[in-house]
Amino acid sequence: MIGTLRSELLKLRSTRTTLLLFVTMVALVALVVAMHVLAPSAASLATRSMQLRVFQVGSGIGMLFAGLVGAISITAELRYGTIRPTFLVSPRRGPVIAAKLVVGLLTGIIFGLLSQGIMAAAATAAFSARGVVNTLGTGDYVQILLGGAAAAPLWSAIGLGIGAVVRNQIGAIVGLCAWALLVESIVVGFVPSFGRFLPGASGLALAGLNDNGKLLGPAAGVLVLAGYAVITAAAGWAMTVRRDVA
């Protein structure tokens, strides 16, 4: 099992994909924070709800990219055929999925912490530059950092499960992006009573965002999100163990 874990860590480090994802994530976080800080008037930016909203966009990006890391960890093997040598070396497939899950969780924590940290620092600096009084306290910052660091790895598990079920790399990536960037915000916007139970919204709740009471509390958020992670990862595991490798 340790060997399988080390193998998965090396797979993650030995291509440029992870670095590319990380750089893209940082650039996107910086971009959306800048847009949300520069666009609104100073008066609207002074409200606590608006300031929290600035953090919402960045949190979603961290979760999405952690999800992509999880999805790519399995779909890249299917796409390039390395799944065959992988399963020849480790014919018991359960431990391979478990190792991918662990590596994805670790990467998710790092992605979550860094994207939230960059976002919080950029937003704080931008508020200060525009002369807006920062209403967020230490507790808010802790929740933004730790909540984001908890939500991202759970999204990585969801991504792994989706990837293992969908199997097509482009399909999984496009699906996750469309879901996180488009579908959820529409559902949350129009049917918040339902939308707040979706994985993106519960992840944002975990990072301390409230969206004028539309979202769940952090405790409920972590439970709902963990539920999605367990269900999707289990589905991916079951599919991988049972299906033939082409």
Partner: protein
């Protein structure tokens, strides 16, 4: 009368004087018994039974789509049989404790991440198998890829990819090698290298099962053959017995599989 039906009932007329024997399971490197794989309506492998003694070099012949690759995937635990069984060293592949130390396989020449280096590809496999990383350097030398090992695989020629696949199959210093079309796409120099390589493996007493449709190439390397078409085993036996009485391996192969090459 439907000519396709006629070929369907063709029996293995070349399972002759000394067929590929059926040694006791614990002595066989490979044994398939009534192995069957069905995908919906399509029967890819249809009741295939054979077994290979240790130390033999066997050519697995048949047209494209005959069921060779499916048989090998069933043997290696990548797919589950619909019926029958396929065993390596008397066990299902998935039940072997450290399969990579007993069986090495190359199934596709393209099973690499294009932006991972050859060395890192081998390292991920060695780590997963619990093998020392020094084995990676040894097999790189063995296949002559040492100088290119740090380049990304996308820069490799097809011949280099075949060598990298072979290097991966040798990581565990296995007793049995299963190679699916290892000569595909190789230039003459590559084929020459591969022939010498296979002969070295055979001389070391390893068991080799090699699928191919390069008959002349196979005839130079193997000592027994299996011919499969439409998922059915049509002939099995020693090469000397099958290609006898003035008939070449090609004559026998074309007769058995006639009308299938499209």
């Amino acid at each position: 009368m439907n000519p396709a039906k006629e070929s369907d009932v063709q029996q293995p007329t070349y399972a002759i004087s000394e067929p590929v024997e059926s040694p006791p399971d614990d002595q066989a490197a490979v044994s398939c018994r009534e192995l069957t794989k069905q995908y919906g309506e399509v029967v890819a492998v249809d009741g295939v039974t054979f077994s290979l003694r240790r130390g033999t070099v066997t050519g697995f012949l048949g047209p494209n789509g005959a069921g060779k690759t499916t048989t090998l995937r069933l043997l290696l635990g990548l797919a589950e049989p619909t019926g029958g069984e396929a065993l390596v060293f008397g066990h299902r592949y998935r039940e072997l404790v450290e399969p990579i130390r007993r069986v090495g396989a190359v199934l596709e020449s393209t099973d690499f991440h294009p932006s991972r280096s050859g060395r890192d590809h081998l390292r991920t496999l060695a780590l997963g198998a619990g093998l020392p990383l020094s084995r990676v350097e040894e097999v790189l030398t063995q296949v002559g890829l040492g100088t290119a090992a740090d380049r990304r695989v996308k820069t490799y020629s097809l011949g280099m990819r075949q060598r990298l696949g072979l290097a991966a199959s040798l990581l565990g210093d296995p007793e049995l090698l299963v190679l699916d079309e290892p000569a595909n796409g190789l230039d003459p120099a590559g084929v020459h290298w591969l022939r010498g390589f296979l002969q070295t493996l055979a001389a070391q007493g390893r068991t080799v099962l090699i699928s191919s449709h390069l008959l002349a190439e196979v005839a130079q390397t193997v000592d027994q053959i299996l011919i499969i078409d439409h998922g059915r085993l049509l002939a099995s036996g020693r090469l000397d017995d099958i290609a006898a009485n003035g008939r070449t391996l090609e004559d026998v192969y074309l007769e058995l599989t006639s009308g299938d090459e499209s």
